[in-house]
Structures are given as C-alpha cells and as structure tokens.
Amino acid sequence: MLYKILVVDDEAPVRELFVDLFKKEDCQSVACATGEQALEILKKETFDVVLLDIKLPGMSGLEVLKNIRETNRNLPVVMITGFGFDEELIAKTKQFGCSGYIGKNMPISQIIVTFKQFVKTAKEKGCSNG
C-alpha cells in the first residue's frame, strides 16, 4: 500500500470517486462527509495524508485544517475545491498550513499526479506523522 488517505467531502459521489481512484493507485482510503467526523476519525486512526474539501457544511475545510494543525503540524493535508484555481483561496490555505491545493476543475489524471506529488514533497520534508 502506497498511502493511507482520509477523504473529506460532503458529496457522496465525489467521496466514492476518490476512494475508487485511490484504490487503483494502490492507496487505502477512508471517507467521511464533515469536518467534525474527520477530526473524530483522526483521533482514532493515523493517516499518511488528508484530502480535505474547502467548502463543507458546518465546520469549513479551513477550520478543520486549523484544528489539525493545532495538534499535528506534520500530517500532510491537501485541500480540494470546486472553486478552481483561486489565488486568494490558495494564499489562505497556505497560511493555514496546507501541503497542497487541488482544483476539481483539473483533469482527473492531473489531479492524481499532483496529489501524489504534494504528498511526496511533504513526506520528503519530513512532515509525516509516519
């Protein structure tokens, strides 16, 4: 298994797509629909990376990221959004300590390549919780 991934997205078809895509890439993934659920899961399980949607009902993706960073500075977190490549959003997520940023408007193949690149870089930097 390459990575164990936590997928956080409020839309079931998106979650399921990611789980299937990652399976093909020899990754194991756990999926949940809200930020609150994600934080609960993270308390119990360890992951190589979190794929986190920015726009979530209740706690937003940015808040979840902030929460994760309070207890874990090293866990790679890649943000994903339907807003596309928005510089303002990117700047904000970087400020909150995310490891990468992916727009849902990118072609799927590119998303997977970019995602893997982000995780690799984050791990090389020694930013993994192992």
């Binding site: 998106v14 895509l21 093909k24 339907g82 807003f83 490549f85 408007n105 072609p107 193949s109």
Partner: protein, 482 residues
C-alpha cells in the same frame, strides 16, 4: 400774493438744483445761479459778462464745444430750442460731469434772437446707475451664455420657437438664427419619426406645468438626455401665449448612473457565477472522473468513441466554468513590479500562434523606453494583452495592421494602446462590449473582454474602447505606476 411770488422767484432760481443761466443776444452770460457757480467752481463775478461757451466749457476740448454749438444752432445763424441735450463739462475739481441741457432762445417778432435761458441738469449719478444696470445686464448675459447644463426656449401656441435663451448655443449648439421661428420639433424630433411634444403640451395645458425625462437633438445631430420642464406662458390677461421650456442636460449623470449600474451588475454576476461554477464543478468532476476510469477498461470501440465524445464535451463545460471563475475572481494577489513593455513582448509569440494562417498582419510596436514599472499580477495582465491582441487578429480575417503603443500618460499612469485596422464594432454594441457573455463573434463565449475589464479594474486602472464599423478598434488601457 403776486408780490410774494415775485420775491420767491429769484430765490427759487438761486437755490435750484439745476444750473440756470440767462444769456444776452451776444451769448454773454447776464445771470447765473448758485448751482452754476458750484459746478464751474467760479464766482458769479467771473461768470457774468463772459461768453457762455467759454465759461462753461473752459476746460473742455474743442470737440465738446463744437458739439454743443451744433446742438444749439440749426445752421450757423439760427438758434433752436434744445431739450435734454447731454454733454459733459469738467467741474471745479476736474471731474467729468454729464449735464442734460435745455436751451430756450427768446426771439423777437422778426425772429431775431434777443436772449436765451439755459438749464443744465447734472445727471452724472443717474447715468452712473444706468451704467451699473447695463453692467449687471452684461454680466447676467455672460453668466447665462456660459451655462451649459440648461437650455431655455419659448414657443408660441403653434409650436414656433419665439425665444432662444441661454444654453441653446452652449448645450445644444444651436445659434439663435438656426432655430428662431422654426417649429420646436427641430429640437425634439430625435429620429425623424416625430416627437412626444403633443403629449407634453397637452399635459401643460391641463396642469400648467409638466416635467419629464426626454431627449433633445443638438445641431450636430447628437442626442442628449435631458430633464425637461415646460411651463405655460400667459399674458397679463391670462391668455395662453406660449410655452416656456427649460431642459437640463443629464448626459454626465446618465453616464455615471450607467457606470454604477454596470459595476453593480458585474459584481452581482461575478458572485452568481462563482457560486454557479462551484456547483457545476462538483458533478462535472465526478462525471469526468468516472469517465476516465471507465476508459481504462476493456471496451467495445463504439462505446469508447461515445465515451471520448462525452469526455470532449465535459472538457468544454470545464473550460467554460473555468472562464466564468476567472471572470468572477475578485482580486489580484501575486503583485510584483512589472515592466509593461517586457510583459507585452512576452505574449507576442503566443499571439502569433493564434492568428489565422492566411491573413497577412503587420505588427507595429511603438514602446516608450525607460517607463516606470507598474505593480500588478503579471499573469493576469498578460492574459489581458493576449486577449486584446488575439481579438485584434481575429477582427482582420483579410489581414491588416496592429499597432501597440506604450507611453507615459503622466507621472502617475502608463498608457497602453492596441489599435487594429479590422472590421470594427458597431456603435450599438460598444456599451455592452465589456459585459460578460456578450460577444460579436459567433463562437465567442463573451467572457474575454469582461475578464480583461475585471483584471484592469482590480489593478486600479481603466480600459476603454473606441471603434467604428470598418475603421478598426482601439483599446486604451491606463495602469498606475508603482
């Protein structure tokens, strides 16, 4: 009683507020009153017995003496009665006094001159007031003629212009002679199809006054928006003799309102687009993701072809959503000092790539060297230049010329002009050209120029377009220096 009056009379003459003189037939002064001594500054002993012209006009030039003499004589021999002849004298302090003269020759039965009485009324102050009034009138005339925002004109009940007042020239360009006594439709018939004047005048007849937003035609056949107030014009007996029109020029106001309206519309549309694009991106992401996964399976060629078609169509939607998102992008983030000339230079190879292969297009650059840098987002600004240049190329299917000019507008702004010799844009499209989803091209999305507009606006700059059909288009961008 009679004797009393006889006693009063010399006193009356002596104390009169006007100069009173009595001359003998040789025109020497026999008698003069106090006012005469006061004004001439001479004692009666210096006056009596002397020639009146020499005494009264002793300080005046020959021209005045001649004028006075001419006024008194019919010809060189006959005296005539003179009333209210105005002529200046110099008073004792050397000041010019304007005197209104009345001269009565006293003739004998053979019409021979026996004596004359002269009355001279000092009207300097009265005339002064008149001159002031004239000055005020002149000032008012100047004030009125320099008012450009209002035009005033009056028509008779038949609709003929009977008075052309302020502003008709300054605001509408009409000389009085152009429109006086013409039918007022010359100002109101904006399209040769008649005007709504009948309705307006009917309202005025009914209620005395009517105010409405309408349009007027200038001498140059331009149409300007106005607020028109029309009042009844009644004579003292209450009879309707005409209508008074006052039109206020609303061009600037309308322009401002339109800009605010456009800005608000764009902002609202931006918000809506961003939200909509987000909602489309999610299902689109799932569709294209599933498609890609499916395509990796063993498939019948017919199915694969169909999937490829679906793929290409979803790509189309994704591109559209991308453009909408870029249009709605609110701010610039990656700000850096930018050399405008270099930024333009860098996009030129990309432009060449986009041009139509058969068209011969000459690209002419006129860059001002050593311009101060501007602060901006290089990629966004290059997107603007690329967009405008590609548009320019596309507007010249049969070839032509593109000029790119950079210059220092002043100490604060750089100016970039992109001028093509293409097909141009019809006047009625100009005001919509920066609106999203507006396109004159069949295949255009209508987002290119609205994105340009947004980007330049976010850089605190401005972008304007002037164009005429078949005379090309000229974009002017102004961007602030750092």
């Amino acid at each position: 009683m009679d004797s009393d009056i006889k006693e009063i009379l010399p006193k009356l003459i002596e104390d009169a507020g006007v100069m009173v003189l009595y001359l003998d037939k040789q025109e020497n002064i026999l008698l003069c009153n106090k006012k005469t001594q006061e004004l001439t500054g001479l004692k009666d002993t210096d006056i009596v017995g002397k020639n009146w012209l020499k005494v009264l006009f002793r300080n005046s030039g020959n021209n005045i003496k001649k004028a006075m003499f001419k006024a008194v004589m019919d010809d060189s021999t006959t005296y005539k009665r003179v009333k209210d002849f105005e002529c200046h004298i110099l008073d004792s302090s050397g000041k010019n006094r304007l005197i209104s003269w009345s001269i009565n020759p006293i003739l004998d039965k053979d019409n021979e001159l026996q004596a004359s009485t002269l009355f001279g009324h000092d009207i300097t102050e009265i005339k002064g007031r008149g001159a002031s009034i004239k000055n005020i009138n002149d000032s008012l005339k100047n004030i009125f003629s320099s008012i450009k925002e209002y035009a005033l004109y009056v028509i008779n009940p038949d609709g003929k212009i009977t008075y052309v007042g302020m502003g008709c020239q300054a605001m509408l360009g009409w000389d009085k002679k152009d429109i006086i006594f013409k039918h007022v439709n010359i100002l109101h018939d904006i399209d040769g199809q008649g005007s709504n004047l009948d309705f307006i005048l009917k309202q005025v007849r009914l209620s005395g006054k009517y105010e409405t937003e309408t349009e007027l035609v200038t001498k140059d056949k331009e149409i300007i928006p106005v607020i028109l107030t029309v009042n009844r014009f009644l004579d003292p007996s209450g009879k309707l003799v005409g209508f008074i029109f006052i039109a206020k020029d609303m061009t600037e106001r309308k322009k401002l309102e339109y800009q605010i309206f456009q800005a608000e519309k764009l902002a609202a549309l931006g918000q809506l687009s961003a939200g909509m694009a987000h909602e489309i991106n999610n299902p689109l992401f799932v569709i294209s993701g599933r498609l890609e996964m499916l395509k990796q399976e063993e498939l019948d060629q017919k199915v694969r072809d169909s999937l490829d078609l679906i793929s290409s169509q979803t790509d189309r939607i994704r591109n559209l959503v991308d453009r909408i998102l870029r249009f709605s992008r609110k701010s610039t983030t990656a700000l850096e000092p930018i050399d405008i000339n270099e930024a333009i230079e860098a996009v030129l190879p990309w432009v060449q790539y986009n041009k139509l292969p058969s068209a011969e297009v000459i690209l002419e650059k006129s860059f001002t060297k050593n311009m101060p840098k501007i602060k901006g987002d290089l990629h966004q600004l290059q997107e603007v230049f690329l967009n405008l240049l590609i548009n320019a190329y596309q507007s010249m299917p049969n070839g032509g010329k593109i000029k790119i000019i950079t210059s220092k507008l002043d100490d604060h702004y750089a100016q970039i002009q992109i001028i093509d010799s293409g097909v141009g844009i019809p006047a009625h499209h100009l005001k919509n050209i920066f609106m999203p989803f507006f396109s004159t091209k069949k295949e255009g999305l209508g987002l290119g120029l609205s994105i340009c507009h947004n980007i330049i606006k976010n850089h605190n700059g401005s972008i304007e377009l002037t164009s005429k059909v078949n005379q090309g288009a000229s974009f002017t961008i102004k961007l602030p220096f750092i």
